[in-house]
């Protein structure tokens, strides 16, 4: 899923201070699971903003709403009838949701309330970690199911680099060396012979480098 992190409250205050009627818009999907932008976080942010501006002697209307998803026309339509009651919307969805809402409601400022971090997993309670960078050409079949693109700080396809120490990355002893993980897994799979196969120069045109990516499926189009 998409992992996001709440923006600092000071930053949100700076962004919204000139608006009088503000809608805090949550999303029920990924950001709810990673506790950055679901219904609960909407309630907290709304309460905090109300108190802050009240203490500043400013009367503001702070509305709360959480949609099933913000990356879907169907759910975003649900706020069409209330959008004009607000001068701005703080979206707690990932960057996708913020933009999709902005595209739909052209005349309403849409402000992000979270920083979108990565595609990751719920590794533990309160711990979310990256697993994929959506490079568009998956190499996992050749790397023991561990991704060197997202998990190696140098996205080395023929690793490890010289910085791997005791299974950890040179950037931090809290970061696993992706290539150590790959080798451990290849060993477990009894496929160490695969290690010596050289990964060819990668086609990054399916990555960010190739420009905004699109998937078109004629077979499912209506």
């Amino acid at each position: 899923m998409i992992i996001a992190e709440k923006k600092p409250i000071e930053e949100i205050i700076q962004e919204v201070k000139d608006f009088d009627r503000i809608l805090i818009l949550g999303c029920n999907e990924c950001v709810t699971v990673c506790e950055a932008g679901g219904k609960k976080e909407v309630e907290v942010l709304a309460s905090v903003l109300r108190m802050y501006f009240m203490a500043q002697g400013q009367e503001k209307t702070i509305g709360e709403r959480t949609l099933e998803r913000q990356c879907d026309h169907e759910y975003l339509e649900e706020i069409r009838n209330i959008i004009d009651d607000y001068d701005a919307v703080v979206s707690l969805a990932c960057g996708v949701g913020v933009q999709f809402a902005a595209e739909k409601y052209l005349t309403t400022p849409l402000l992000p309330g979270v920083n979108t971090i990565c595609l990751g997993a719920n590794e533990d309670r309160g711990l979310w970690t990256e697993r994929c960078q959506a490079c568009g050409t998956c190499v996992l079949a050749r790397t023991g199911g561990i991704c060197p693109v997202s998990r190696c700080a140098k996205r080395v396809l023929n690793g490890p680099c010289g910085g791997s120490t005791n299974g950890k990355c040179e950037i931090s002893k809290d970061t696993d060396c992706a290539w150590q993980l790959i080798i451990d897994r290849l060993k477990a799979l009894d496929k160490m012979d695969d290690y010596e196969k050289v990964a060819p120069v990668k086609d990054w045109s399916t990555d960010r480098a190739g420009g905004p990516r699109t998937v078109i499926r004629e077979d499912v189009k209506i």
């Binding site: 409250i9 000071e10 205050i13 609960k40 309630e43 907290v44 309460s47 905090v48 109300r50 108190m51 802050y52 009240m54 203490a55 500043q56 002697g57 009367e59």
Partner: protein, 122 residues
């Protein structure tokens, strides 16, 4: 055991302090509370194992938020005691009430009162 406790706070009962959420704490301040304290069981004695630890974390988070928006994080506090410690409960409530008196009314409450006055005058 008749113990003197201050009269100017309201007790909200919870099945376990682990039930408390940040939003409950924030709502209290939004509605005009000047202070709030959470009284949980002794650490390590939670019937649900870690309810009081979670409560402490949430109290700390709420304090952080209140600091950032100028309400003051010292207006919230977590205490732990066991069920037999009535006098300690009384002592903590005195301590908290004195602390709040020293800090004065919450800026949110003052702002609400000013707004109310303005509305009444108009």
């Amino acid at each position: 055991m008749r113990l003197k406790i201050p009269t100017d706070f309201r007790i909200v009962r919870l099945p376990c302090t682990g039930k408390i959420d940040i939003i409950h704490i924030l709502r209290a301040f939004e509605k005009g509370a000047d202070g709030l304290y959470v009284v949980g069981c002794m650490e390590g004695d939670c019937h649900f194992n870690e309810g009081n630890f979670q409560a402490r974390k949430r109290v700390e988070q709420a304090a952080g938020i209140l600091d950032k928006i100028g309400v003051g994080g010292e207006r919230v506090k977590m205490y732990n005691l066991s069920s037999g410690e009535g006098p300690l409960f009384a002592q903590y409530s005195m301590e908290m009430v004195n602390k709040i008196k020293e800090l004065g009314p919450s800026p949110v409450k003052l702002a609400k009162q000013r707004m109310q006055k303005k509305a009444d005058a108009a």
